[in-house]
Amino acid sequence: MSCEEFQRILPELEDTYSLEQEQHLKTCSHCSALVADLNAIAREALLLADIEEPSPRVWNRIEIALRQEGLIRSAQPAAPTLRKARWNPIWLVPVAAIFLVIFGLLLYQRGGVEPQTAHVLHSTPLPSLPEGVSAEQAELLKVVAAQTPSLRASYESEFRAVNAYIRDAELAVRRNPNDQISQQYLTNAYEQRAMVYEMAMDHGLQ
């Protein structure tokens, strides 16, 4: 049995292997290491079941920290030589992704990300934002101000108001997810924000 054949059927295999497969694992260090890694990941994944899902912001922070450390980079086209390897490199993608997720989650749980994130933030200081306004909205305010300076304050206060609306509505939905009224508040709050965006962009593009 070749490595290619073994790796092709590996996703369908459970804990038991045929005689031929066991023979291959004994003789191929590469495939046996791969199986060991996958088993380790499966064990860790079971432990994750009870952990509350962190917010997307946490994942962003983790990604920033990992990029800063050089542990992950933008995707590069695969080198042609890899195609000649004995086993299919496509396995690296899910395995690497799962490793990163687990690594990131462990860092998050142990509080290991915060110092790195702080380092990132210190090395690239963000300009101060108007209170109650997101970075994206602040950018839009600049565009509006460039067109009509007098309208900036008006848009800023509208953004602040709709952001507060969304915060309140989100809180209400979180407290009572099945409440139709809370959901309606949230929908309307998002519509209001969308309208402010639309008008600001219309104005900025003139």
Partner: protein, 282 residues
Amino acid sequence: MSRSLRTVSVAVLSVVVLAAVASSQVRKEFHYQVHRRASVSIFNEYGPISVKPASGHQVIVVAILHSDKVEVDQNHGGNRVAVSSHLLAGADPESGRVDYEVWVPVNASVVLHSATGPIHAEKLHGDIILEGNTADVDVRDLSDGHVHVKTLKGPVTLTNVSEGHVEITSVSGDVALNSVNGPFVQVNSTTGNIRYDGDFGESGEYSLMTHTGNIDATTPSYASIDVYAHSEQGKVENDFLLEPSHTSFAARAGSAFAGTVGKAASSVKLLSFSGRIHLKKR
């Protein structure tokens, strides 16, 4: 003698100033022949737009340009007329201002945009879309057409509007509806107050919703409504003796009430997250 001399001097000076202002203004008038249900749009960044009904099938646009920093672009194709203010380099709210007076066939569909306004439309039967940032929007005596209004902080007033879909979205402008009814009436605001004075029609869906604004709805005792009012953090008051109705919404003393008046022909939802709500009997 000296007093009358002073009066004459002031009068002469006023005439000179007015003449100077008038000389910087340019009046333009456009006439278009259209068919039934024409589509007319006016886009004006700075300045008022007023639309009234015209006799026959013609559209008349009178534009007063306040400086040479703005010009009027026009486009007339088929049954569509589009007029817009074109701001030139260096234009600001003063120099870029254009005052529009427009006459359209009563059944025309109208789209009006003015950032500063005011925007006014009256006595029409077609669909109307009005948009403004700080523009004061005033609409009266409309029927059979949809009325959609969007403003950031401009107040919106609708008077005598019937038999159309009414959708008003304003972030912080106050909204006043006087004798407004139709199959669908919706107001959505963030900080604006909402005031409704009318009978809620004979069958319609009414939804008045705001985040921090107050809602006052005044309706006669003969109104026929199925009403639900709720304020998450504010108070609700009700002058009517409501018949209990089967609803999924919970009534809570002081913060929510629900029930019917008359035959419950129209559905009325009054929702303010932290504002006060009052259903008043006229």
